[in-house]
């Protein structure tokens, strides 16, 4: 305990010297503080980015509440410190400490990273190093923490296989407690780590990379990933919470003192999406669509409002406009919350949702900017990516929005999509111009002042478990030329603000998202070179990453630009996402033929979930057609 007091004093002294000290202070309302010795399992939940980003993340709030509900377990939060704090911690020999009890990362029994985006991988290694945890899983001592990871990027676990003891694939609500219980029971047993790993490998949805061997062909492609012990399954199925309405959802969240990115109540109204956009990994890995009931959501919203005092609730899901009774839900929430003066916001609006009525409802509370994501500029390319919206849809919804008093619209597009031509780029400009004209066509006395159209073009990154997983990414030169072309075209367009992302980041994302186990050596070399906080453009260094690839002897172009063969064994296929590779290939072929696939609510498209009985009602109905 004397050590602990000393460390606390050092932390307090460091906080006098850093920028944004509130990132590190903790002590927020609803933070859960259990006496350290009162539990048998200490779980450190790590978000590999800064406090402001991590505290905006819904998954963390769910799992934080879930584990802390267990009387003999505690869960505390860790975030990536900013550069100034990191430097001080290294200088003063203060290990990465938790937000709640300020205990060092290495003192936890189990630590878990959430993998939300590839460019946070460097922070994982940095956090392990700062937390005095041996970074290579193979070299960790018996009593070092068990290091786990989950989240969407865990659907290709291979790039992180060197560092993570066990991956939890899919929905975390059930598997997390199975894993924490196993670690809790194993810890005092004296058995080696391998005994635990073999036990974990038997849990549905858990992938233990050390129990598998990878074989490569001469050309560098993976030929197979095979279990090296009988306990490890030949294929690891993902976890699916079938009854979302009955699944755990917190009724209280820690409320940060300082403003974070999403500083509001997040109410997950449903999980999954039936649209089947071909570029979208989330649309594949969260299948099938599962809704929470109106009554559950009302009760959650009420409790969360009482527990947090937030002024705003956002309805969150991949496609909130698709929620079966959205207008009823919004009306009910507005009624319930009117006394509390809470406003309700809907992110990720899809432009073909039945939203006119909902729009009118939300504006009673607050007017924010509306976001639409046509993703591609022409109908041809929207058919390729199966984004089932038309120009007429967009114009109609935008007109409704302008009539409803909105004047700020964001339009999201991707460039570098498969089969894209410059005609498709012209289509982006054309669509933006139509939106501008649409605003001016609304009578002056009916529209709000100050039109603001923001066109955002991100660069397409082919993702595992999507129909485009075989596709090469556009080269950086091509992407830069396309960006320059659009920039030039938008120069003459009034009322439109055009922005785009640096293609270097998307290039690295492409390397990691479809990387194999050898990427681990790149990540270590990058960490040695000081790569860190790559999501922050003022810190990110592309040169350092290129150097890291060179040191590791790997060619990033091979990962990003290579077209995969139809029969190539893809590294992430050790995971059974539930989506059949034949379905993905079929979708890929249809994409190239510019053929669309219907929304699964209109009938089963045979994605493969029918193999798992009781998971998808549409698949179980057995109505399979290849559309």
């Amino acid at each position: 305990m004397a050590d602990y007091r000393l460390m606390n004093e050092r932390i307090e002294a460091m906080l006098e010297q850093v920028q944004k000290a509130p990132r590190y202070t903790g002590g927020e309302m609803n933070a859960i503080r259990k006496p350290w010795d009162s539990v048998r399992l200490h779980y450190g939940f790590c978000f590999p980015d800064t406090y402001e980003v991590g505290m905006s993340h819904l998954g963390m709030k769910i799992l934080y509440g879930l584990v802390n509900q267990e009387p003999d377990q505690l869960c505390e939060r860790f975030f990536m410190p900013w550069l100034d704090m990191k430097e001080l911690m290294e200088k003063e020999h203060v290990p990465l400490f938790s937000m709640e009890s300020r205990m060092p990362l290495c003192d936890f029994d189990m630590i878990g990273f959430t993998l939300q985006y590839e460019m946070s991988y460097s922070n994982i290694i940095a956090m392990l190093r700062l937390g005095n945890v041996t970074e290579l899983a193979s070299e960790r001592g018996r009593d070092e923490p068990i290091v786990v990871a989950g989240g969407p990027c865990a659907f290709n676990p291979e790039p992180l296989a060197d560092f993570i003891d066990a991956f939890m694939i899919g929905d975390g609500e059930e598997v997390t407690l199975e894993v924490t219980a196993a670690v809790r029971d194993w810890k005092p047993s004296g058995e080696p780590r391998e005994t635990l790993f073999k036990k974990l490998a038997g849990i549905h949805g858990v992938y233990v990379p050390s129990l598998y061997d990878v074989r490569y062909a001469d050309d560098g492609t993976v030929t197979e990933i095979v279990p090296n012990c009988p306990e490890a399954p030949a294929s690891v199925p993902r976890c699916v919470v079938t009854d979302l309405d009955g699944a755990y959802y917190p009724r209280s969240f820690p409320v940060p003192y300082t403003e974070v990115v999403f500083d509001r109540i997040m109410l997950e109204i449903m999980r999954g999406c039936t649209r089947g956009c071909r570029f979208c990994q989330a649309g594949m890995i969260y299948r099938p669509v599962r809704e929470r009931s109106l009554e559950t959501l009302r009760s959650l919203a009420m409790d969360l409002e009482r527990a947090t005092g937030y002024e705003e609730i956002s309805l969150s899901s991949l496609s909130s406009g698709d929620y079966t009774c959205l207008p009823e839900l919004i009306r009910a929430l507005m009624r319930d919350m009117s006394k509390e003066r809470v406003s309700i916001s809907l992110p990720s609006l899809r432009i073909d949702s039945v939203l006119k009525e909902s729009l009118e409802e939300t504006q009673k509370a607050k007017k924010t900017s509306l976001t639409f994501a046509p993703e591609a500029g022409t109908q041809r390319l929207r058919d390729v990516i199966n984004k089932g919206v038309t120009e007429a849809d967009l114009i109609e919804k935008v007109t409704d929005a302008f009539m409803g008093g909105w004047s700020s619209v964001k339009l999201y597009f991707m460039i570098g999509l498969p089969t894209e031509t410059y005609e498709d780029l012209d289509g982006i400009v054309d669509l933006a111009q139509k939106v501008v004209r649409c605003y001016f066509s609304v009578p002056k006395d009916k529209r709000a002042k100050g039109l603001r159209v923001t066109v955002s073009a991100s660069s397409f990154v082919p993702k595992p478990v999507t129909p485009f997983q075989w596709e090469p990414q556009d080269t950086q030169e091509t992407l830069k030329a396309k960006q320059a072309y659009l920039k030039e075209k938008f120069r003459g367009v009034k009322g439109v603000n055009f922005n785009y992302h640096t293609p270097e980041l998307s290039y690295l994302e492409a390397c990691f998202s479809r990387g194999d186990r050898r990427i681990g050596s790149v990540l270590r070399a990058a960490a040695d070179l000081g790569c860190i906080l790559d999501g922050w453009s003022d810190v990110f260094s592309f040169e350092r990453w290129m150097k890291a690839f060179e040191i590791a002897g790997l060619d990033p172009e091979w990962y990003a630009y290579r077209r995969r063969e139809k029969d190539e064994r893809l590294p992430w296929e050790i995971i059974d996402s539930g989506i059949d590779r034949r379905f993905l290939w079929h979708e890929y072929e249809k994409a190239l033929q510019e053929k669309t696939t219907r929304d699964c609510r209109q009938g089963c498209n045979g994605c493969g979930l029918n193999r798992w009985k009781g998971v998808c009602a549409i698949a179980d109905a057995g109505h399979i057609s290849q559309g």
Partner: protein, 222 residues
């Protein structure tokens, strides 16, 4: 009616800024179900004010807030409910009802009391130099104003300054027109003692108002 309450801002949250503490208090009031009143108009906001903003990095032992009420509530009930809705680092220490005619606490503040803990290495020299420092007829330092940095004499703004426990006791002017922040005192004191600025812990122990006889007394007692 309005509720006037005192609260603590503890060490752990001393880096949280004034506006963030204010918002945390607002949210706590919302959580507590206390019938706080809101302004009328297009963008209603809760009628909650702090008598004085506390500097980032300082601990507060008896900070003062007032909130307008839209319904009846007893002070004891107010304290119990609000404390249950606040984190342990930010708790009320007293509450009482005040009439609508009671002046705004913000306009009543005339001075503040501080305890300043000095680093071990600096304490002896500072204590030795203290009386000579106070004997100066003027103490000029920079003061940030809206129109830029201006020189300012803080000597008349130091009402009391003496050794107390592991550091100093200070009573300093704090009004809208003229005030002496602890940092201004420390900058000049350290320079006077010929020391490099040290890392002192500042604790505001009370906000003061002036009573009918002109004495400075804790504001919450007025």
């Amino acid at each position: 009616m309005r509720m006037l309450a005192t609260f603590r801002k503890d060490e752990r949250i001393r880096h949280i800024g004034h506006l963030d503490i204010l918002r945390a208090m607002q949210r706590a009031l919302r959580r507590s179900g206390i019938p706080a009143d809101y302004s009328k108009g297009f963008n209603p906001h809760m009628l909650l004010t702090f008598a004085s903003a506390l500097s980032v990095g300082a601990v507060g032992q008896r900070e003062i807030m007032e909130v307008s009420l839209a319904g009846e509530i007893e002070p004891e009930e107010f304290m119990t409910r609000l404390n249950a809705a606040l984190p342990p680092e930010m708790q009320l220490t007293s509450a009482r009802l005040i009439e609508d005619t009671h002046p705004a606490t913000m306009s009543m503040v005339s001075a503040a009391r501080y305890h300043i803990a000095l680093p071990d290495g600096d304490r002896k020299l500072i204590e030795e130099k203290l009386s000579a420092y106070l004997e100066q007829t003027e103490i000029i330092t920079d003061r940030k104003t809206k129109s830029g940095i201006k020189p300012c004499d803080i000597r008349p703004l130091i009402y009391d300054l003496r050794v107390e426990d592991d550091g100093l006791f200070a009573e300093l002017a704090l009004t809208e027109r003229e005030s002496c922040k602890p940092a201004m005192l420390l900058t000049t004191l350290y320079a006077f003692a010929g020391l490099e600025p040290g890392r002192c812990r500042i604790i505001r122990t009370a906000l003061l108002g002036t009573d009918a006889s002109g004495r400075r007394v804790p504001l919450e007692d007025l």
